[in-house]
């Protein structure tokens, strides 16, 4: 009788542990997913803010690709001593985001951003409906 009880107990415990393992694995996947969503929120927020600057205080740079932004050769419409660093290194709720590329010369202008330190990268296309995510 005892061997049968031991075998039954073992089966019960192993099946429960296996189920518990699956739940823990699911929790890890969900934590990673949560982190990715948070990163996407930060990048999307930075894109909104940057475009606000490019259509506001930095409007003189709107039509110029970011590869052509040089402090010594800014368009005449720009005020003297305009600082470019705030545009190149943005911050969302304390997390730094870097501008990789702004290209307004495409049929639909594109903005590419990356979390500082080689984090998540996302591109956005500016259409009639605003910024649309392009994917990593």
């Amino acid at each position: 009788m005892l061997p049968l009880a031991l075998a039954g107990s073992l089966v019960l415990l192993l099946s429960s542990l296996s189920l518990q393992g699956m739940v823990l694995q699911g929790r890890q996947v969900q934590a990673l997913e949560q982190r990715r969503l948070r990163s996407e929120d930060q990048l999307a927020s930075a894109a909104q803010g940057l475009l606000g600057q490019l259509q506001g205080p930095y409007a003189c740079l709107y039509g110029l690709p970011s590869s052509d932004w040089h402090p010594e050769a800014l368009p005449p419409a720009c005020p003297a001593g305009l600082a470019l660093e705030p545009l190149r290194r943005w911050s969302v709720d304390g997390s730094p985001v870097e501008l990789i590329r702004w290209d307004p010369l495409l049929a639909a202008p594109e903005l590419w951003l990356q979390q500082a330190g080689g984090g998540l990268q996302r591109g956005y296309r500016l259409g009639a409906g605003g910024l649309q995510e392009l994917g990593g």
């Binding site: 009880a5 031991l6 019960l12 189920l19 518990q20 739940v23 823990l24 909104q48 475009l51 910024l131």
Partner: protein, 131 residues
Amino acid sequence: MAGAVFLAAALGSLQLWGQAAAGSALQQQRLQQRDAIDRDRLLLQRHWRQRFGADASQPGCVSSAQLLAEAAHLPPAAALQRQLQLSADGAALLVEWGDHPAPRRRWYTAAGLGLCTPAGALTDSQVEGLE
């Protein structure tokens, strides 16, 4: 002896099953909340475009305060918390979904939503007038 061993194993197993079921329910709840947040985010963006898209033919931008006022008129789905807050300089609107300590947050600007028209740009009617 055999009965005692089996009973102990069954009780331990029951406890583990209970924990697993609770964990699984929590995961399901988080998935549903993520979907609800995405739906609400898309609904908000569509609402802003429908409300202000026509005004984008006028030079200038919709203000963040206008975005906030419109968002406040669109109630979130039941069981979803949404909070709205203007940035210190009033240039952007923060939308925060979900509970503390881990809410989702997105900043919005009229420019990012396509609700700005540069002062120098021509409207459709002006273009037609030139043709």
